[in-house]
Symmetry: C2
Subunit: 411 residues, 2 copies
Amino acid sequence: MRDGFFRAVSTAEFRDLLHGFAPLGLETVPLGAACRRFLAADVVSGEDLPLASRASMDGYAVRAAEVFGAGESNPGYLDLAMDIPIGVIPEAALPPGHCARIVTGAFLPAGADAVVMVEYAEDLGAGAIEIRRPVAPGDNVMLAGEDARRGETALGAGTRLRPQEIGLLAALGVVDVPVGRMPSVALLSTGDELVPAEATPQPGQIRDVNSHALAAMLAQAGAAATTFPLVPDDLDSIRDALKTAAEGHDLTLLSGGSSVGARDFTLEALKSLGAEVLAHGVAISPGKPTILASLYGKPVIGLPGQVTSAQVVLDVFGLPLLAHLAGDKAAFDRAPRTFPALLSRNVASKQGREDHVRVRLEHRPGELPLAHPVLGKSGLLKTLLMADGLIVIPADLEGLAGQAVVAVRPI
Amino acid sequence: MRDGFFRAVSTAEFRDLLHGFAPLGLETVPLGAACRRFLAADVVSGEDLPLASRASMDGYAVRAAEVFGAGESNPGYLDLAMDIPIGVIPEAALPPGHCARIVTGAFLPAGADAVVMVEYAEDLGAGAIEIRRPVAPGDNVMLAGEDARRGETALGAGTRLRPQEIGLLAALGVVDVPVGRMPSVALLSTGDELVPAEATPQPGQIRDVNSHALAAMLAQAGAAATTFPLVPDDLDSIRDALKTAAEGHDLTLLSGGSSVGARDFTLEALKSLGAEVLAHGVAISPGKPTILASLYGKPVIGLPGQVTSAQVVLDVFGLPLLAHLAGDKAAFDRAPRTFPALLSRNVASKQGREDHVRVRLEHRPGELPLAHPVLGKSGLLKTLLMADGLIVIPADLEGLAGQAVVAVRPI
């Protein structure tokens, strides 16, 4: 019996299977390496931030009540009590009827509750300051504790760290950051016809594309991949390579084996190592021959050898798995970032299969861009080269009509 | 006379000034480091790709004309001439009336012009193959030269290299890639009130946020920044730091100096080093106090010290400049990737100033997300922390009305 798609699953089932792999533990990384990682523990603020109220403009610190009603035609007058430089907390409180000259970022003296911008005040000399605009309490002031409060959770576990969160961690003095460990990835390509990119192919041979394209995708996602030497299409070679890869890495991606015979070797090699084959075939196009197994409790994805299929499957399933393992609690729920376009013509699809169609965008001023489907064989490079993004045709549809508004996921 | 905004410019003028800096030269990097870089020279294909026609499915290579009209009820019959394994070019041509068993990726024999999928054929034994579907010439075949043609430009200078372009370069054997040099960036923070993130602030001091948040943004853009020690707010220190930074780096970013006095030091330091101050003040909010100078012919951007302003200005101007210097020919023309949302309420803006408003998104199934403006002082961290993206209010508008469809740029 030919070993066909004995455990073909829907894309939703495939995601559930991926979700079953436990996220890796936490590690502590320096702040400079924490961006794009997922926080592995709550960060509780050890202090108020700002520690005390600070001016957000150059001007004069005042009691707002004392300049109530001040205007161009009826200015208020205050005595200058002090100059507050940057970098110190004023020791003296602001006496009633007084103001303090203050620069952006400097701390307010006790008693002051607002800042009048320098544009609306004038130093009349001899310690008299004319105020030509009223202010409300808190105007032009960053209040103590407005960014974070001592003892409260400033950032929760699972938060994806963007540059602004890195800034908050710096402000709180968190320079060693607990984050989910980023998976180590082993990247294997099988195929007797393959030669390394730097080699000159003999007749019948072709250069290995997948190792390079997939490594680039992984690098963009923040993961360092170990690229293994090319694996010949025989059982022993594939088994040995899979064993070494899975023993030493958190995630193994093996591409190749697009033909039935080669797929069988991969399955046989996995089984002989005691792996559990979780899925063999996914209702997705391109990418149907995808294999998922658990080897030593770690995920192994057998990607199709066709270059387009391999990249689409890594994008649709592999990168969310990477984020899930690295501590992203919503890796499989978060809708990918898309933007709308108008489909240029009908696209047919087979019911029961989720299609990821490459589209080329034609931008039009003032209108939605046109999305032109880029059809072509998934073993070719050109369809992805011509494409700006992907659109999804759900498994329950037989296609999409021209002029439909589609959600384009940029690639 | 107070040195105010003596050379304030519009955002369009600011971009033109940035565009005036010449892109850096080219460098050659290994293929594994070329993703996201800009190709600095045309890549001409040295061969046809594929070199000869290849099967894109498992099945039987045939002459399409010989299975014309074949169907379930009237199958065609061909003699099996050979088995074509992967990795060789068949030496013999396909004799008329014959077919060849072929696997995905294998090269077609001379004479064959299509592949019948294995699902639509049956091996009857004794060398007879039954064909139950017709094929057109080219069906299930990747044609010679379909991806690239010998002697033609496969990728043009200026192309941004994505994973799929990396794949094409691998297929062509281009393992040393000529790309625009990525700028080296010096990152300086000034401010007497600042202490390093790992220090405990004394009363009046605060931890340096900008060095960390800006370095994270630069890293995301693929640039390695050299973070300088914190620079005290005095003329000599700022001048010395700027001199060292600009001598050794392609782009210098100095953040700080939000107060008028500190800004003056930066300007004075630049002038004393012989820099040409190109802009002092930009009609943008946040980010008005931004400075642009040319020092030793290299760009120096004085970013505002306010954390939000610094990040927005780096995003709006700094990152496009980085891409421009690295060889992106459309760095200032390319519209940033946005997606639509519905503004939740009116937002006012000052005419003559381009506003970049932080928005928080509320996702709603089946409807456009709601974009809630996040207002607050640009010295605070929280507005960017709460925000999912930015929307732009052009300088010629006085605001946007609630329920307007806005283009959100994710951050």
